[in-house]
Structure formats: structure tokens, C-alpha cells
């Protein structure tokens, strides 16, 4: 049964709707990311769950209890902020102890619990440091320990990593996920970083203009985006605009090319404009004329970007059709692909790619 339920929550600021009728549920122990660009309402929803904002309509239910009108002091939720929000006048240990002191936990139990949590986040050595004596990553670990100390029912994180450097960000996201799974705590995680959301989540809610555009597992969101917004916001996506030649034959025109696709949308007719959605890594270099399941294009390379393990290629389709982004293995050049600006290369992609009606 769902542990955290969000029912038709709506919140309006002045004339602007920040959150529009959002509903989803989270099972106990589930990690749900609220992903979206800034201003898309994800933080507002988190603050409504925390009790810092009141919804105009809708309900928040935790473990069967309706908390919509409960003040934040009584909700027993742990919150981690982008700005860390550690109390500057207290040591790391006193920060972690804060939530236990407000609950009048006996002092010896507090000591033990603080030690336990600081060691969980790997900072037992720095218990007596003040926030300004800690690095950003360390401060956020303390903030996490502080939020977890009173055994909250739900853990809420508001872009906890976005103020940190790339390397620390990647390390800490692994650790947050590990701790979350160890404790089995139900978690809402707000982020604008699609890689973070994909890497950490059990499920993702993609926000856009206050609406939940898509809710699903990382794989569902990545492989079967249901809107143009989701397709481009989560991962890179080539969106090629084509015209349907024959719906029955499954052929479309891209510039001078005729391509074959397996699944045209039901509601298009011949002559309609459609979009092919192809992930850059789904486009292969080279061409086997005998493989009839592949579409073939020629691409002039404009730019080759070395990305360490991979190469990012930007090119222009020969014969019209626009630009194409490719993500190919590092050793493509060793295999004789001749990837350099100005070169012309053969690429292929499967016929079973996603096709949608072109948005006007």
C-alpha cells in the first residue's frame, strides 16, 4: 500500500499556477525524484509536502494520516536544503542533535544517535567542527545526518547537490542512494539534473510548467518519453521532422531521403508532418547495405567532441533533413570511421524508433 499519497495538489501564486493538480503515490522505501527545469513547480510541491506551503486544493497523506493542514513541526519529515542550512552557531554534532533535543530525547541517547549518524555519513572525525570549517560536501553530509537523526517518516531533499562540484556531486549521489536504501526511508528528491534523477531514482516525476508531464521508472522515462519536452529534457534527443509518404507502407520523407519506420502514430495520414525521435547513442556508424532493418543516412561531420569514454559528433545530414547528434564509442576512429570536421560518414539507425506527430 502507498505510504505517501499526493492527491490532486494545486498551488497558485498570485495569477501564476505553480503546481497544477499533481497526484502520485510513493511506496514505503521508494525513492522518487521530482525532475524539471527551474520554475516548474517541483520545489513548491516538496515544500507543500514538508508543510512550509499550504496547497490551495488537494491532500497529502502519510501512512494513512492526512497531514495537509498539519504544521511542519508535527509532520516528522527530514528536510535537506540546497544551501545546507546548517546552524552556523552549532558544531556538526549539535546540528545533528537539534532535532533530538526538540523531541526531549534523553541526553545519553542523543550522544549515541549523533555518533551513529555522523559515522553513517562518514564524518565521525569532524563532530566538533563548525559549519564554516567544513567543505560544501561535508556540510551537506551533516545536513543529511541532521535530517535523518529523528527517524523521519519521509526524507525530503531539495536540490541537495547543485551547489557542489562535479566530482563530489557524483560521489555524494551514490552515497545518498546507498544510505536511503540501507534505511529503507521513503524519499522525495528535487533536482533539475536529469542524470542525477536517472541514476538515483526508483521512479521519476517529470515536471513542466507546474504539471507532471510523465511519471515512471528511469528506463520508462528515458526509453518511452511521452512528450517532446520529456524527450529533450531527459537525455539528448535527435528530433527529425519528416513528412509521411505512405502510412500503410510506413515510409516517411526526410529531406531527399525515404526512411522506413515500424510504428507510425495511429492518427496520422499521408502528407502529415511527424517527428522521428532518436537517441544519439542509438545511431550506429557504418552501413551494411544488406541489413534491411536499418535506415541509412550520410552525414557531414561538423564537430567532434572528445568526451573521454565516448565521442560526441555533431553533423549535418547530406541531402537535407537538418542536424544530427551522434554519441559513438571512443574507439570508432580506430576502426577507420574517419571522424573529423568535413568528413562524410555513413550512419544507420533502426526502423523501430519512436515517431510522434510533429508539434506545430
Amino acid at each position: 500500500m502507498a505510504f505517501l499519497e499526493i492527491h490532486q495538489v494545486r498551488r497558485q501564486f498570485a495569477s501564476q499556477v505553480a503546481v497544477e493538480n499533481i497526484s502520485f503515490t510513493a511506496d514505503k522505501g521508494e525513492f522518487i525524484s521530482l525532475l524539471g527545469p527551474s520554475g516548474s513547480g517541483k520545489t513548491t510541491l516538496l515544500r507543500i509536502v514538508a508543510g512550509f506551503e499550504r496547497p490551495d486544493a488537494g491532500r497529502i497523506v502519510v501512512d494513512g494520516e492526512d497531514v495537509t493542514m498539519m504544521p511542519p513541526q508535527r509532520r516528522n519529515m527530514g528536510m535537506v536544503f540546497q544551501s545546507y542550512a546548517l546552524f552556523p552557531n552549532m558544531t556538526a554534532a549539535n546540528n545533528v542533535a537539534f532535532g533530538l533535543r526538540t523531541r526531549k530525547v534523553p541526553n545519553d541517547q542523543i550522544q549515541a544517535r549523533v555518533r551513529e549518524l555522523l559515522s553513517l555519513v562518514g564524518l565521525e572525525q569532524k563532530a566538533d567542527r563548525y559549519p564554516h570549517q567544513l567543505s560544501g560536501g561535508e556540510q551537506q553530509r551533516v545536513a543529511l545526518a541532521r535530517a535523518l537523526a529523528p527517524n523521519p517518516r519521509v526524507l525530503l531533499l531539495d536540490e541537495p547537490l547543485s551547489a557542489l562540484d562535479a566530482l563530489i556531486r557524483v560521489n555524494l549521489r551514490g552515497e545518498i542512494r546507498r544510505i536511503q536504501q540501507t534505511l529503507g526511508i521513503t524519499t522525495l528528491y528535487v533536482t533539475h539534473d536529469q542524470e542525477e534523477a536517472l541514476a538515483m531514482s526508483d521512479r521519476i516525476v517529470v515536471f513542466n510548467h507546474g504539471r507532471a508531464e510523465q511519471i515512471g521508472t528511469p528506463e520508462e522515462i528515458y526509453d518511452r518519453p511521452t512528450s517532446a519536452f520529456v524527450s529533450s529534457f531527459v537525455g539528448a534527443m535527435n528530433r527529425l521532422t519528416c513528412q509521411v509518404i505512405s502510412r500503410s507502407a510506413g515510409t516517411v520523407a526526410l529531406g531527399n531521403h525515404e526512411l522506413q519506420v515500424n510504428a507510425l502514430p495511429n492518427d496520422v495520414t499521408d502528407g502529415d508532418r511527424v517527428e522521428l525521435w532518436i537517441r544519439p547513442e542509438r545511431i550506429r556508424l557504418g552501413w551494411d547495405p544488406d541489413d534491411v532493418n536499418q535506415n541509412h543516412l550520410q552525414v557531414v561531420v561538423d564537430q567532434v567532441m572528445f568526451l573521454g569514454a565516448r565521442l560526441g559528433i555533431k553533423g549535418t545530414i547530406v541531402g537535407g533533413g537538418g542536424a544530427l547528434t551522434l554519441d559513438v564509442p571512443r574507439d570508432a576512429n580506430d576502426r577507420g570511421a574517419m571522424l573529423r570536421p568535413g568528413a562524410s560518414v555513413d550512419v544507420t539507425f533502426s526502423r523501430s524508433i519512436a515517431v510522434t506527430r510533429a508539434s506545430e
Binding site: A50, P72, A147
Partner: protein, 258 residues
């Protein structure tokens, strides 16, 4: 860190001289007594005057009252504005500079008119003086506290504390006050200095405050006034030191540590 150029030292020195020279000149003048008198004569005659002690007591009381009023009224108001109604801030800032804009005389005249009609205890002259001082010191108090709150990320810290079940009292005493201590001290200090030197309002209301006493002395005996000015200067710094010491010992204890 950059290396200090000669120019920057120059500016610092000129600026300090600008203030220190008058101070030194005043001090020097206060020691120039007539023949046959010890050089500290101006000081002893002041310290032996009953009027001096009376006016000092009055001004100290008023300064303390203004600081306390500031703490009790301005801190919660500013905190609450920061937390809940940030869009009110321009208004509050405007109100906080009004004492500069509406000349204090207008204020006092208005107060006299208003309270003369009799509002019970409010029409007491002491209450009027205290009210006027409260208004005059408001901008200093507000600006200091505003600076403190701005540098402490009020909203996130408050929400962090709320999320952990803290009461408002706990938040005020363990989170807000300890983190704006420096600014509070700054505001209290300015208020203190302002009221110790004030004489326009009090003379219009017929009070013999320290400022009025200083002015009267200045009009009658030159050396005495200089000595008094030096005493005032020392007094202000002395009380500041006491406040600093008290606050370090009290708020720190309330706030847990650091």
C-alpha cells in the same frame, strides 16, 4: 589578499586624522586650566556636579529603554517580515528611514499636541521622550538587524528548525538571536551613542538629559564642555564594552556553543 599600496595607507590615515584630530584637540583643550589649578580641574568640577550625575542617569535609562524596545519590537518584526512577507520589505525600509525625512521637531510637536489632549499614562512626559527616542533610534536598530538577518539565510534556517519540530521560542533563542548577535550589538551601540548625545528632543520636552547638560555647560564654561565631551566619548565606549561582554556570556550560553 592584495598587497596594500602606499595610497591605501594614505586614505586610511587621512580618514582617521579627520576624526581623531578634533578628538585630540578637544582633549588637549580640556586640560588647559587657569593658573593655580591642577590640569584635571575641569574634570573634577564636572564629576562633583549633581546635575551631571542626574542627567547621566536619565540618558542611560533612556538609552537602555530604547535598546530594549528595539530588541523586543524590531527583532521579531524584522524576522517575521523576512520570513513571511518579503514583499513588505521595501515598505518597511521606507518606514525605517522616515525619521530622517520627517524632521524630529515635527515629530515632537506632533507628539506634544497628540498626547497633551490626554491619553492617560501615554501623556506622561517620560513616556513621550521614550516614544520619541524609540522612533529616532528605529532606523539604526532596523538597519543593523536587517544586515544581520540578510547574512544568515533566515528562511532556510527557520524551515530547517521547524522541520525538526522546534518551537518558535527555541528558534528565536537558539537559531535567530545567536546568529545575528554581532548585528544586534552594532544596532544597540549606535542607539546608545545616539541617545547619549541627543539634546534637541529632550530640550524641547524640557528634560535635562546628558546632551542638554553638555550643551548648557558648553555655553557657559568652555573647558568644562571639552572635558564633558571626552567623558561622553569614554562612556559610550565603556558601555559598548560591557554590552559586548554581557552578550558574549549570555547569548552564547543560550545558543549552545561557539
Amino acid at each position: 589578499m592584495k598587497r596594500l599600496s602606499v595610497g591605501s595607507w594614505l586614505v586610511g590615515i587621512v580618514a582617521l586624522l579627520y576624526f581623531i584630530v578634533p578628538l585630540v584637540a578637544t582633549a588637549q583643550f580640556s586640560f588647559q586650566e587657569g593658573p593655580g589649578q591642577p590640569f584635571w580641574a575641569a574634570y573634577t568640577s564636572i564629576l562633583e556636579s549633581a546635575q551631571f550625575w542626574q542627567s547621566l542617569r536619565l540618558s542611560l535609562g533612556m538609552a537602555l529603554a530604547a535598546v530594549v524596545i528595539g530588541l523586543i519590537v524590531v527583532v521579531p518584526a524584522a524576522y517575521w517580515a523576512y520570513l513571511r512577507v518579503p514583499q513588505l520589505k521595501p515598505w518597511i525600509e521606507f518606514v525605517s528611514i522616515l525619521p530622517f525625512v520627517v524632521p524630529p521637531i515635527v515629530l515632537v510637536l506632533g507628539l506634544v499636541r497628540l498626547y497633551a489632549s490626554g491619553f492617560g499614562p501615554l501623556s506622561a512626559r517620560v513616556t513621550m521622550l521614550m516614544g520619541a527616542y524609540g522612533v529616532v533610534s528605529l532606523p539604526y536598530m532596523f538597519r543593523s538587524i536587517d544586515t544581520g538577518l540578510r547574512s544568515m539565510n533566515v528562511k532556510a534556517l527557520t524551515e530547517a528548525a521547524l522541520g525538526m519540530g522546534a518551537s518558535w521560542t527555541r528558534i528565536m533563542f537558539q537559531v535567530v538571536l545567536p546568529n545575528i548577535r554581532q548585528s544586534l550589538l552594532g544596532g544597540a551601540f549606535l542607539t546608545f551613542a545616539l541617545i547619549m548625545g541627543e539634546y534637541a528632543i529632550s530640550s524641547m520636552l524640557g528634560f535635562n538629559t546628558f546632551g542638554v547638560y553638555m550643551l548648557l555647560t558648553g555655553q557657559t564654561q568652555a573647558q568644562g564642555a571639552a572635558a564633558l565631551a571626552i567623558i561622553a566619548f569614554i562612556l559610550v565606549w565603556f558601555f559598548v564594552a560591557i554590552m559586548q561582554w554581557v552578550s558574549r556570556n549570555s547569548i552564547t550560553t543560550i545558543g549552545g556553543s561557539r
